[in-house]
Structure formats: C-alpha cells, structure tokens
Symmetry: none
Subunit: 233 residues, 4 copies
C-alpha cells in the first residue's frame, strides 16, 4: 500500500486485470468477528485507495480479505457504509499519530517544523489517505457528513495548533494574525498537492518528483515556506 498506484473510479470492463493482493491468511481465520472486520477494513482501504469509490469492487475486497462477499455486507451493509468506515479509520489513524508527536511539549518553532515533517512523512507513508480523501471530495464529503465521530476526532488538532501559534506569538517569534486552521490547511496543502498530483505534475514538468533528492528538496522548501511566513522579519 506504500506506492502511489490507482486505477479507476467507476465501472470499466477492461480494468479488472490488476492482480488482487493475496488474501491475508495469517492463521486461518474463522469465527472471529473483530478480526474478520478488521481484515475487511484493511482490504477495503487498499481497494478504495487504489480504485476510488466507484472503481472499487466488493468482490475484490472480499477476496483480498479472505472472506465471502456476502460477509462484507453482513458487517458493513453497503459499499457506501464500508467506504465511510474506511474514511473514519483513516482519519482516526492520522489524528492518533499526530497526538503522539506531543507538539505541546516542544517550543513553538520546533513544533511547527515537526508538524510539517510529520505531515509530509505521513502522506508519503500512507498514500492511500490522499486518494481516499480525493474520492470523498469528488463525492462532496457525502459520506463524512453522515459521520458522528468525524468532527470530534479533528477538533483536538485545531486546539493544539492554536496553542502552539499563541505560544510562538507570546514569545515574539511568530507574526500576529495567524489563524491556526489556515495554517494547518496550508501545511497540509503543500504536502498533499505535491504527492496527490505528483503524476500530472511529473508529466507536465517532465521531471520525476518522487526521486529521493526531489523529495528532500521538497521538504526543505516547504519548511522554508511555512517558517518564512510564521517567523517575524
């Protein structure tokens, strides 16, 4: 799941050729509800990330999870609800990882640099997150809007960032008038767009943007951009 590989959104007779990832066998699963659900979710994440909501195939998800197709419906009711579960899981994971940064324990400037690095590395390591979000945005967040957990999952992040910004400002380090939400969106923007749109960008600029040196140059550039904005002149 670590490579930027996707195919289709919607049905197209010709695209069934991608070999499905081998079913995770681990230990001959059976009659273990939690385990089975987790495996379905994993498989679904891979599938939705690779093909989008419309392009994903319930059949492939089931096979890849090593279960009967019917069982996917037994636990998740429909493709759309499965997709929502996948989205919620994906958000839960990144927010959880962010929590572990303990940004509140770092000084303001370091905290922001750390967040930029983390965001960049997280997107690099979990490219499925970007694709899932793109799919959900194509559908105007229709699924997330039905989620009760999603807002509460994200509010701690904003609170944390607000704290960091205020500390930086009290120390006379950061400029005034910084909206933490805008700041977060900008950090995400710089990382997200580069990776999510890497395929078209590499093509139109004729330059491999995923080459190792390109990646480290990007991180350094983004840090410069963010800190250049935040730090007082």
């Amino acid at each position: 799941m670590s490579s930027f590989q996707h195919v289709d959104e919607g049905r197209s007779p010709a695209d069934a050729s991608t070999p499905a990832p081998a079913p995770a066998p681990t230990e001959l699963r059976g009659r273990n509800a939690d385990r089975t659900q987790a495996e379905i979710l994993q498989a679904a994440t891979r599938e939705f990330a690779a093909f989008g909501l419309g392009g994903a195939r319930m059949e492939r998800i089931a096979t890849s999870a090593g279960v009967n197709k019917r069982l996917v419906y037994y636990y998740f009711e429909s493709k759309e609800l499965l997709f929502l579960s996948v989205l919620e899981e994906a958000y839960a994971r990144i927010r959880e990882a962010e929590q572990k940064l303990h940004l509140g324990d770092l000084d303001a400037a370091t905290a922001v640099r750390r967040l930029v690095e983390f965001t960049w590395q997280y997107y690099l390591d979990n490219p499925e997150f970007l694709t899932l979000l793109n799919s959900e945005n194509l559908h105007r967040a229709r699924h997330l809007q039905r989620s009760s957990r999603i807002q509460e999952m994200n509010s701690p992040l904003v609170a944390l960032l607000r704290d960091v910004v205020e500390r930086g400002q009290r120390e006379g380090l950061f400029r005034g008038g910084v909206d933490p939400v805008q700041l977060y969106i900008s950090i995400a923007s710089l990382c997200y767009f580069y990776l999510s749109n890497n395929a078209t960008l590499s093509t139109i600029f004729g330059r491999d943007l995923l080459a190792p040196t390109a990646l480290s140059e990007r991180l350094s550039h983004m840090t410069d951009v963010v800190m250049g904005y935040l730090l007082r002149k």
Copy 2:
C-alpha cells in the same frame, strides 16, 4: 483522432455557445462537425468534472451535448480518448489565461502576487479543472502521458516564472535558492488543496470554507505565505 480540433481557436471563451457562422457545407446534408465536437467536449468536461472518469456516463454526455451516443464515439473513439481531449483542453485554457497576465511586464513582487491571485481566482471560476486533475491523478496520469502536446504547453510557464524569480533576486528583494518549479507547485498547492478538498475540510472543521469572508481571508493568507517565503528578511 486522439487530439481535438479546438473549435474556439482565436475566439474568446465566453462566446463558445454563440452559434458560429455556418461554414460552407461540404455535403448537402452536412451539419456542423466542429460545432458538434465542441458541444460534446463541453458536455464531457462537465460530466467528467462532476463524476470523475469512471463515474462519467457516455449516455449523459451525449444527451447533454444534444447528440446521439453513437456520434460521441464517431468523433472521439472511446471514453478514454474523450477524457484525454478534455484534459488537453483544460490545460490549454489555463495556460492561455496565464499568458494573458503578461507577468514579464510586471515587477517581480507584483508578478508573484498577481500569479497567486490569478491562480486562486482561476480555480474558483473553473472548479472542473481541479476535479479533472484529481481524476487523472487517480489514474496516475495515464492519459496525459500519451499526449504529445502537454509538455510543450507547460514549459513557457516555468520559463516565465524562472525569469520573475531571477529578477527578484537580482534586485535583492527575493531570497536565494528558489526553484521556480517548487514555487509554482507551492502556489498551486495553497489554492488547489483548499478548494479541491473544501468538502472534507469544511466537514471536519465544521466551518464553511466557501463563505465570502473565508475566501478573501484565504487569499490574503496565501499571499502572506508566499511573500513571507520569497521576500528577504
């Protein structure tokens, strides 16, 4: 047939719907081929933007263009080639609009500010551009890679931006070590992500990011970010 004969060549985008003066009919029953193709392309752009490549329906495209489904195939051969034509058109339009900015005639700082404003406004006015790119990226730029026109369409932009950056540096205004491609990608990032991911962002932050004041705040924030990075301290 893989590349589309632009019906609006030399005419302003706004009058695409004005009935073109009838060309001398080649045959007695001759309808208007160019006109029909343009209408199909318009309809296809709307459809692909709204539903993605896989989600788009040839049927709807035909209906929306007011032609028979068979005719779409007659002119564009397949859904995928139609999609490529749509993409090429979309790139052609934005690059053409950028050319008209005449950034080369402005002083460096103004040129960059102008580019940020333009990019922001263009994305706002042409949201289909974002969705089309997202779709193409889901497909790993599979279609654009087959296009012969796409790189040459984008190189003038990079050249132009390189010129602007160098002028700013020579004047001692801009910092050193600025890669024009990185800069362009960052500007695009800031505008693109906010709008393309607006649906999920608005949902998780519980805040309407498309409200008029939100939009103008975003533009001002982005300009601060870009100029904060570029301008020497």
Copy 3:
C-alpha cells in the same frame, strides 16, 4: 416436524399473547419451546400475509418473533414448511370460528344470513387469511396438498351447510337444486373478492371501497344476492 403443535389448543384465541404458565423446565437452561414456536408462527403469519411466500424474509420473521434466525429453522425446518404451518393454522382458526356460530341451531334462512355476515366480518378482521390463500393459490396449493389435516378440517363445514340447505328446502323456503359447495363458494366469493381485490378495484373505479358506508352497503348487497338466489319466488 411438518405439522405445528398448536399452542392455543383449547384456549381462546384472544389470550394467545398472555404469557402461558411456565411448563416444568426439562433442562436447567430450558426456555419455553411452545411459546417460542407460537411467536414465530405469529410473526410468520404477518410476514407471509404482508409479502407473500416469495416476498417474505426469514430474517424479518426471526427478528419480529424476537428470536435468532437459526431457531426458526430449528423448529420449522424450512421456509416452505413454515408456510404450510401458517396455512394450517389459518384454516384451523376460521373453521373453529365457524363452528362457534352453531348454524345448526338456527332456522335455515337465518343460518345463511348469519354465515354471510360472519364470513364478511371474518375476512374484514383477518385480512391476512386472504393474502395467505392468494399466495397458496399462486403456488397451486402445493403446500396444502401435502397436509394431512386440511380436508378433515373442512368437511364439517360442508356437512353443516348441506344440512341447512336441506332444511330450507324441506320447509319450501329455498329453491331446489342447490349445491352446498357451490353456495359456500359463492358466499366466500362475494366477500373475498371485494376485499382481496379492493386495492385494484378502488383504483380502477376511483372509489374508496373500504369506507364505512361502502362496507355496510356491500354487506347488505351480498345478503340480497345470496337470499335472492336461495329464496323461492
């Protein structure tokens, strides 16, 4: 297991929902088998009546009976055998109710009038009976034909009616040549069709056939028809 052990045996229909006195538990964990079976049958009757045999869902029956789906199979083996049990129950109930009319104790004309009224009211009060019969007829009585109890359940009715008719004839009141089976079928016809086909009839005639006045007019009309036929001129 193909025939159902009647839980209400010897008890009045109205107290079927009253908790039966707990029978001596055969095992420590023993629940109440009869009670559970009765609840399944009730739920199944509702379900089959509402959706027909094919449209009925074992899942819904189980849920509605408050038991596990597997238990339905434990007691009734299959959907078809469950349906047969439901049918047998339904016939048993109406024939039992007819017995209670004691038509043999009434004079012939009154007995017939009473039977018309009863049939009408019974169909009105137990619409599920009509739907169940329709379903079974769609299946050409495939299930009932396997029932051993069904004919014996219905023969007393014919005998009774034959007796009534003969009494009426001996008294010089009724016309000659009356086949009691034909008579019974006609009485049932007049009541059944009006109610069973009420939905289409109301629609094609644009008239609410279930309105209270419509109902009482129908009863009076049917009585006129039946007595008009029977009574000597």
Copy 4:
C-alpha cells in the same frame, strides 16, 4: 398460457426449473422496435402471470422474448415499470373485449346473462389476468396507482352497466336499488374467486373444480345467483 400454472413470488433458488417457452421466432426479428416491445410484453405477461411480480425473472422474460436482457431495460426501464405496462395491457384487452359484446344492443336480462357468461369465459381463457391482479393486489395496487390511463379505461364499463340496470328497472323486470358497481363486482367475484382460488378449494373440498361438468355447473349456478338477485319476485 391457457392453464392455471404459477409458481413463485420472490426468489427461491430451486424454482428455475420450469422450461421457458421457446422464443417466438416468427421471422427472425431484428431492428423492429414495435415488434420487439410487443414480444417483450407478451413474454413478461406470461412470466408475471406464472410467477408473480417477485418470482418473475427478467432473464427468463428476455430469453422468452428472444432478446437480450439489456434490451428489456432499454424499453421498459425497470421490472416494476414493465409490470405496470403488462397490467395496463391486460386491462386494455379485457375492456376491449367487453366493448365488443355490445351489451347496449341487448335487452337488459340478456345483457346481464351475456356479461356473466363473457366474464366467466374470459377468465377461463385468460387465467393470467387473475394472477396478475392478485399480484398487483398483494402490492396494494402500487403500480396501477401510478397509471394515468387506468381509470379512463374502466369508466365506460360502469356507464354501460348502469344503462343496462336502468333499462331493466324501467321495464319492471329488475329490482330497485341496484348499484351497477356492486353488481359488476359481484359478477366478477363469482367468476374470479372460483378460478383464482381453484387450487385451494379443490384441495380442501377434495373435488376437481376444473372438471368440464363442474365448470358448466358453476356457470349455471352463477347465472342463477345473479338473475335470482336482479329479477323481481
């Protein structure tokens, strides 16, 4: 289609064994819209009559009509709309046949007798009509209620019958207070129920109600019932 044969309403894995009627080949149909639609309708009528709405299989309908399954959707959009078309056709046919009786040209008593005979014979010859109606009633006339044609198709019948009744009354032949709609429903009842419920009736009474003598006895009985009611004593 002239025998009372039906199987299922709803899905049941085991019932696909009935051999589908051979596709009507006539003259190697192809590219004839009207003809194709008519053949689909015919096949659908057979299928819905034999298996009910839920039990009918689109696959079988297509095969039986000698067309591709997709084409059925091309012309009729969905199973439910196809079912509605079938119903409308069925009503159109019986009402048309009734028109041809020219009851207005007969004297009142003869007209009623003729109507009883006709109804009886029509139901005998077109048993699918009864099954279709039963299915539609199971669905509470959900489909017919969306039909714009259905009421107007049926009103001439009522008008005609009203005329007949009034003529009979003016001649002093018929009793007073006869509602033509009630009368029509009663005539239909007597014929319909006997045939529609023949399977269960034959089973519970242990008597073949479709035997030729049984049929003619029934007609004679029904005529007696209807005329016994109408004619003044």
